[in-house]
Every structure is written in C-alpha cells, then in structure tokens.
C-alpha cells in the first residue's frame, strides 16, 4: 500500500478505537452515577420520618405534616421543610423537625399504607389525564399552565388566596379537589383547565400527590418561590 497515512490524527483506526473507548468509559461512569443516584432517590418510609431522617423523596405520610419551603443558607438554596423547621445556629443549616402536623381532608393520621395507596392513585391519575402536556411537574412538561412542583405551597391556594375563596371551600385540599372536578366552573384565567372527568377519589389522590411532591427536595427549584405578596417567605 502506498500513500499510507503517516499522521495518527487522520487515521480512521485511531478514531474508531478512541470512539469505542470513550463511549465505554462514559457509559460505565453513567452507570456508576446512576447507582449512586438511585440509592439517594428511593422513597423514604414512615420510619425515616419517626427517626427524623431527611430523604430527598420522603414517605407519602408527609401529607400528615405541615410543609414549607424556605431558604437554607448552608445549602445556598430553598429546601422543603416538613413539620416545622430547626436552624443550626452555627451553619445556618435548615432541617425538618417532623413534628407539626396539619390535617389533610380532616385527618392527620394517614397510615403509611393509606398514604401510599393515595399517592399511587394520584400518580396514575396524573398520567391518565395527561397533566404533563399542559403543566410542568418538577419543571418538565408543557408550558401552557402553571408549574405544579410546589403548587401545594402556592399562596393563591392558601386561606387568604383568591383561588381557595373562589371555590368556597374551607381548606386548601378541599378547594383544590373541588377545582379539579369542575375546572370550567372556577375559571382561574382566560386560559381555563378543561374538564377531564376527574372523580372525587381521583381529585383527592391528585391533591395528595401535589402535597407529597412539594416535599421533594428539588435542589432549590423553583427559586424564590412565592416571593410576591402573600407568598411563602413573605407570609411570616
């Protein structure tokens, strides 16, 4: 063979071997990282909450607790707080106390089994009604309707908020459930949510899922949530 390439950089074999190596190493790294992340992202249990262990994705029994979302100077962003907050005076680190309860549909003693069944139904409904093709959940989805990541904490749905008042309900969860079943009766904007045939059980389950989702640690997304009047931080 004449005209054999003398430069490695123009050698096909060099690039083919490099491509194989690079792909292999990147894939192995991704798998290692995935194992680590999966370990950290398993859903917590009621036992974790009893032992005051913070999990990125807490047990569904958080629906029995008051949930908040506050700035943690130690981590440099907002974190979810479950059942009241404790601040470390040295570092400013915010942690959950897992103490302060809050009624959810009149009860604050939902067992782990009941709460899990509720969010199971909620998640199935969220998928079956295709929520993600109008709303974003954890910021992913379509951009036609508000993000639902921290919707549970949204000031508009609080006791002073216009949306709770509109439905005439006496609690946030009831207001949300009423709205979900008859969205066209309670227009929140010119752009209205359609009637998706959500049943009372499904509505309750979806609201449980929203409360549970607001307790997921999203590394501070969304930022400054509720900074406007009547918002989470401004409330105090």
């Amino acid at each position: 063979m004449e005209n054999r390439p003398t430069s490695v950089w123009t050698s096909n074999r060099f690039w083919r071997r490099s491509a194989t190596w690079v792909t292999g190493v990147a894939a192995v790294l991704l798998i290692l990282l995935t194992f680590d992340s999966m370990g950290q992202m398993q859903m917590g249990t009621a036992e974790d909450i009893q032992n005051k262990v913070t999990k990125r994705i807490p047990s569904p029994v958080v629906i029995n607790y008051k949930i908040d979302y506050v700035l943690d100077p130690y981590r440099g962003h907002e974190v979810p707080v479950i059942g009241g907050q404790e601040v470390d005076s040295a570092t400013g680190k915010v942690s959950s106390k897992f103490e302060e309860k809050e009624n959810f549909f009149g009860r604050s003693d939902w067992s782990e089994e009941e709460a899990r069944a509720l969010i199971h139904k909620g998640k199935l409904t969220i998928q079956a009604k295709n929520c993600m093709d109008c709303h974003t959940l954890l910021g992913n989805g379509a951009y036609y309707a508000p993000d639902l990541t921290k919707a549970w904490l949204d000031p508009a749905w609080s006791s002073e908020g216009p949306l709770q008042a509109m439905t005439g309900a006496s609690s946030k969860e009831e207001a949300m459930a009423i709205f979900l079943q008859n969205p066209e009766k309670y227009p929140t904007h010119e752009r209205m949510m359609p009637n998706l045939g959500i049943t009372p059980e499904e509505a309750k389950a979806v609201v449980a899922y929203l409360k549970f989702m607001s307790a997921i640690d999203t590394n501070g997304f969304p930022r400054n949530f509720g900074k406007i009047k009547g918002a989470v931080d401004a409330r105090k």
Binding site: S37, R56, Q127, D133, G139, P146, M192, P194, N219
Partner: protein, 477 residues
Amino acid sequence: MQGNRLYEGQRLALKYFTVAVVLFGAQLLFGLIAAIQYLYPSFLYNTLDFSIARMVHINALVVWLLYAMIGAVYWLLPDEAGVEVVGVKLGTIGFYILTAAVAVVVLVYLFVQVGPGTEMTLWLITEGREYIEAPRWADIGIVAVVLVFLYNVYATVMKGNHTGILVVLMADLIALAGLYLAGMFYTDNISIDQFWWWWVVHLWVEATWEVYVAAVGGYILIKTLNANRQVVEMWLWIEVAMMFGSGILGLGHHYFWIGTPEYWWEIGALFSALEPVPLVGLFVHVLYDWGKERGKGNTIKNVPAFAWLTVETFGNFLGAGVWGFMHTLPQINLYTHGTQWPAAHGHLAFFGAYVAIMISAIYIGVQGKAGLKEMKMTRTGWWAISLITVGVLLMTVSLTLSAYTQTMVERGMHGATWEGYFIAQANKWFVQGMGWRLAAGLSVIAGYAALVYDLLTVTKKQPEEVYKAEEAAAQTA
C-alpha cells in the same frame, strides 16, 4: 430514462418515507392548533384541548422522524452492503403492523383522549409521559417491529459489505432500540420516573439520534458530492467519540431539579457544554468536502438533498448547540427550566438536527426512485426550503423573546407562583412573541405544502439538460 431498478429494501424505504411525510403534516397541523390556543384559549376548548393537540404534535414529530430514520436505513442498507435486504418481506409486514398501530394510537388520542386513573389507562389509552405517551400495548408493538428491523439490518450487513457507515449504524441502532425499554415501566416515585424517562428522551435525541444523523449525513455526502469515503468515515468516528463522550454524561443537565443529588449540577453544566463541539466537526466536514469537490468542477448530484443537508449543519449547530448551551448552566437553568426556553430550543434543535436531514434523505429516495443520475432544485423546492427554514428561525426567535419575558417576569420578579405565571403570560411582549410564532408556523405550513408538491413532481420538472444527459448516458451504456 435510466432504468430504475431498486432493491426491495429501497421500495420498503419509500413506503416509510411516504408515511413520514404524511405524519409531518399532522405534526404541523396540531402544532398550529396548539399555537392558536395560546392566543385564543377558547379555541376547541373541551373538544380538542391543548394537552391533546400538543401531545399529537410532539408524538407525530417523534414518530415521523422514526419512520424517516428507518426508511433512510432501508434505503442505504442494500446500497452500502451491496446485497438485497435480508428478510425484507418480514420488514414489510412490520411496516404495515407499525402503521396500523400508529393509526389506532392516534385515533384513541383524538377520540378517547384521557382515561380513569388506573393501570388500564396506561395500557390502553395513554401513559401520560411527555414524548412517550404511547400506551403500553403500542410500546410492546414498537419493540417487536424494531426487533424485526434490527434483524434486517444485522443479517444484511453480515451477508454484504461491512462499511464504516454500516458498522456505526449497527452499533447505534441497537443502543437506540435498547434505550426505549428504559421508558416502559411505571413508578409512584416521580423523581425516579423522570430519571429514567430522560434516559429515553436525552439518550435518544442528544446521543444515539445524533450519531445516526452523522452516519446518514455521511452517506448523503457520498451520494451528492462523491465525497471521499475515507474522510467521511474518519469524521464519523470523531463524531461518535465526541457525541458519546460528551452526550452520555450530558444527561446530567436534565438532573438538576428533579430530586437528584446536587453533583449533577457540575456534570450536567459542562458535559453538555461540549455537545456543540462534535456538531462543529460535522459542519467543518461538510464545508471542507464541498470546497474540495467544487474545485474539481464536480457537480452536486442531488441539489435539494444537499441544500437540506446544509440547513442541517447550520440548524444542528444553532438549535442544538447554541440554543442548548444558552440555558444549560444550572444557575441560569434554575430560572429557565419549565419556561418557553426549552420550547425555543426544542423547535430549532429538532428542525435543525433531524427534520432537515430526513427531508434530505427523502429527496435521495425520490431521486433514486426516478433513477436520475442528477437532480436539480426546482423553483417550488426553493420556496419549500426557504419558507420552512425562515419560518422555523422566526418561530425560534419569537419563542426566545417570549421565553426571556417569562423568565424575567414570572421567575425573576414574581417567584414562579401561579399568579406570577399568569402575569407573565399576559405580558404584552410575551403575547406578541406567541403571535409571531403563529405567523411563523403558517409560513412553515405553506412551505410544507410546497415541499409535498415538490417531492411528488421534482423528477418531472427537471431542466432539459438533465434529461438530455440521462439519454446520452443511456445510449453509451
């Protein structure tokens, strides 16, 4: 006229291309409905709501691209391997099954729309997960058809030539098909749900599809410019190295805010930053070859295909590279995530990286079907490429404008609440961006009409000299 003997595999490819073009039309139609609903929310309210229009819009996109991708492989496979596609009958049956399944899925989307919150809905109606909403039964059908397709490809290459393009495609297609399995399960844990969902979505569009595009792009360059195979294959391997080296861990830029650990910030920010680099490689590659071949006075063998490939290189770099990197750093993404930003990026990236090259491949098929040695661009073809490209660019710019407004007003000023969201949506700058987007969409639809007309007639509307050259070639043969 030159005898137009095609491989059976190439006839199958033309079937795939035909359905792809029809679904492309469906994508644009439902995109138009969704764009109208942004401005006039009562349009089709409670009949064909935004969620349904949008779902059909993005699903039609994914499915038509997959059709065109499978079609392009069936087109180049016998040509590259030098033998007929093995198991082409099975492949044809697969095509009809897949098309019937797609039709049923779309009808269910349109007329059933949503179901009760049970497992049954996920099996029969929709899985409700953006981009991969197809119900579970269809997932299983898709996997079966893809297995047949993989068998066709592997068996054919084993029998024929092992060109570099085919080797890359074989490795890439198996990864592409395998990744789909990551999206076929249900979990109550939404963070884990989205974690694996991104394996499908990201590792498709930012890794395996990109490599696929490079392989097909290489083939088109050889066909249109007589590009040196050695050079094409070298760039192909560089593309594989850089795309997978950067793109696989670039997955991290989707793991900033979904309940994943904080270390993904650092991985996602910079790994994805390198993703435009291989795209630049592809771009340089095309320019290099063009200049080289042009100097020798070589003519372009298929002008429309080459023109669309040029749109591809610019569009890929701008849409996927620049528009992606603009909002990939976590500090910026914290405010842009879940706004119109990803919409602006997505429109230009999908168009630039995939739509343009698939149209290019379809033109190669049209040329091959007629058996023309050379194909010029018609006036309608120029209108098609101009209206579509300008339309998508304008759409991207308008969505970017709306995105800036939304990011600043909703996220920056109002802290991402329900109220902040609607204040931003009502902002005049946001609304005008949506208006221009609709206008741009109409331009794309006009371009699509021209494109369909051109695909059907381009081989009959060639200038005289093309036919004369064909006759001369036929006589000497």
